[in-house]
Symmetry: D2
Subunit: 279 residues, 4 copies
């Protein structure tokens, strides 16, 4: 129900991806060609790690309920910031109120999380989901979304030690709760999570027809293929994004991540593996 961008690579101004590409994230906030909703105007957020940050440093968040397309502070900051790893998200609310604490990304210590999609009938499942969250984490939940609840469920299930396993267990737990309450296809979406150095992005839904997810091809190869496209030269070697939908129409620039897959950006390289395909 939302659109998002996750970037890792050499220090980059977020404006490059969220303002200055043909289908930038802010452009998608007004009109998203592949989105379930074409308008993603229910607030936005950006979270970034500073250049040269020590491992384990918490990211900075800037979130607002204003539509991304007219928020002047976003324009200012996206040009001023430089970061080697950032998340940006525009929201199309599926129910929970439009308020800053419900804007993605969510943060826990040095971790960030964002989501496009929905836990279906969240009002029905919410109490049972919250009960599964580690009680010591309970007061860290500041908003009221399905997404943040899933994030803390994953933290509960060991996100820090085993991100892929913990996300899998959290999703399975929601599916178990949903099944018990007769909620059809409880989980839908794409999910991005990071510890500040690696990005894990999941494409998964209970019905195996998930929201779209793409990664960008190797930047060096792209620059060779398109030597005349000046825009590409602002990206350094190893720059990569994972996104809800392509940021441009450049053939070959964006590759779809398959259904039930986790995509991993680490040390400038991309890999993917099957995720929850055993169901």
């Amino acid at each position: 129900m939302c659109r998002w961008v996750a970037y890792a690579g050499p220090d980059l101004h977020p404006s490059t991806l969220i303002l200055d590409t043909p289908h930038s994230l802010v452009a998608q906030s007004l009109h998203s060609p592949l989105g379930k909703e074409t308008v993603n105007g229910d607030g936005f957020g950006i979270g970034w790690y500073p250049a040269d940050a020590a491992p384990g440093r918490a990211p900075t968040l800037f979130r607002s309920i204003e539509p991304a397309w007219y928020d002047e502070n976003l324009q200012e900051l996206a040009h001023a910031i430089e970061s080697p790893l950032f998340f940006a998200h525009v929201r199309a609310a599926s129910g929970p109120p439009i308020q800053q604490t419900n804007c993605h990304p969510f943060r826990h210590q040095n971790w960030m999380f964002m989501h496009n999609g929905v836990l279906r009938q969240f009002g029905v499942m919410k109490r049972d989901i919250l009960l599964e969250i580690e009680p010591a984490l309970f007061s860290s939940i500041r908003g009221t979304t399905d997404s943040e609840a899933l994030f803390y469920l994953a933290v509960t299930f060991g996100l820090a030690a085993d991100p892929i396993g913990a996300m899998g267990r959290a999703i399975r737990e929601v599916e178990r709760i949903g099944d018990a309450l007769s909620v059809p296809h409880p989980v839908q979406g794409t999910f991005a999570v990071t510890d500040g150095s690696t990005i894990w992005a999941f494409r998964y839904s209970s019905e195996h027809r998930s929201r779209t997810l793409f990664y960008s091809e190797d930047m060096g190869a792209l620059q060779e293929t398109y030597p005349d496209i000046d825009r590409l030269r602002q990206y350094g070697a190893g720059a990569r994004v994972i996104v809800s939908e392509p940021l441009s129409d450049l053939p070959g620039a964006f590759v779809e991540v398959p259904e039930s897959t986790v995509a991993v950006l680490e040390d400038g390289s991309y890999r993917q593996e099957a995720f929850l395909r055993d169901a």
Copy 2:
């Protein structure tokens, strides 16, 4: 660049028109089939006269920069208010900042004004336009839009005594200023103005290709034509709207106002006359 509704008739909850019709104004804020921009999410406003108000009473305004589709207060108020004459507007900003003082409708004493369209290259013309406004009115201008400037120009030119004439003189003055500054086709739009008992709605542009404008047919006739449509029964005799675009797809319910025309709602009846066709 916006969408609007002007209602006159028996006391009505604004929710009937701005929330509960198939193409309600709030629905148009997310998706406007006939709008130049399909999203009108840059704030909204509603202004209404109370039931049984004495003539000359100023209207009440509720305006916000939040998109109309998610503003919870708008949902509350649109159901709580009852009014015999109200304006409602959703904005797609053409340049001036998105702030409450730039949300339509604008108010001066017992008068209200709203606009869909643009004074082209307003930054170029603004100083000269402001200079033509009566100096005593200058400090009444609270926002920074082209629309409010045109409103105060019309007030300067005698809106209270002769609304149609004053609007004509104000538009001609902007065209004169624009021509002197080489601004092509300076005026574009539809304009609604009211003193609390009569509504005047203008469709005019310098290039004679104005934004759309419609009025609703006689409600009694519509109710006879569509005896099975329950929704129509909530309107009393004499209920009329003038709108940027039809609020439903009901054949015959909405009639287009011609180019260069002023539409008038008064005492429950509709009439129209040529406006600035001599150019």
Copy 3:
């Protein structure tokens, strides 16, 4: 940590109490002489029942995170509304985020609730409190405050059938939870609740040193005592308020409600009785 006003009587513009008295609620938002915090700028809310409403009708809410002193819509609406029973509240947040869903009053069906004070160490007690709320009500909780949680606890414990008993049981339950978690003096505050015809206002804290609470004297007697004060004449017979602190310095106009007491406004008359004094 907040200030509030509850009014019952003949139809009244809320502006009379929240804008136009010497120590109006909006004046208290900037400077509250008796408040624990002198500034109550963390949002506000007003909830009102329409004139001539059928019993059981839900109130209308207008809530905003803007400071009450500069919200232009509040100025507009407080003059436009007329109501025989309304609540108004200005917030000084004690921890939970400043967002519209955390602004008082809260509403459930035809009931409204507001609170000045705090459930201490709410982060510690929150999970246990939420678990005591009727699961079917769980998804009705839209915000994240201690106040709203207490409200739904009271709804769970039978607010509709026995308001005084249910409030007592809810407070005792929070005290029980707090004691188990070693939270000293878990409950502090004044609480107002209404079904649209009767107002119950509670002054209670676990340590028996509660925030201040006052009721206004009989209006007819006040008007006789002060025949020269024009301002008093705008109130009809039977107009009464219960307030966090006096709205004026008029001697005799406001009378303090004792500690551990529930004040009741019903059918134009005031009464009070002991509340939770057995502990």
Copy 4:
């Protein structure tokens, strides 16, 4: 009617001054000991130049109408930013609407400006002041405050070439306009202006009783005087502020700037000279 801080020196997190000192700017937004108004809750702004910026680079602005004390984004950014020169401002509005475009600091190319005080009866003088602004600058004015108008008047009068002279001429022009319109003591305040490398701060009012202004003593000397105060060690050599009122109660740390004086921070050193004392 506001409070502000201007910093120049080694790169510093703004949080050091606006959040972490005993009388930080954000603390002053809730309670300002020396302010004409004790609450400065009508929005805020911060503008900063990046570390290692090329001369002539425009600063970044972050401005919001939320009270500074609860804006979560301000907390985030003030810790994330590092800058060798920044302005920060909390507003207590004197009339013009509370909206982002009216929040200080204001920016023109590489220049920033902020103001504590008022142009008296601005509504009366506004038209005449605007007429004196260079027409080519007219459309750069985005808000509606007296402060921004004075800034563009100074730009008109040669701010870039001669900041002290231009500010003097702009103030004299407002006094001339005010005198002609029988406005008593038209100008009041303290004014800070910078090009990104030098800060000029003016204390001046037509009645020669201006709002307070202070500069901080040499940091090396302070650190020697107070070797046990850890807080001082986070400031590098040459760190200096000019402020509306002291950020701490440390004796000797802050020195008052005299009436009718311009204070100058340049290359790590402070100097002051008489300003408009010939009147």
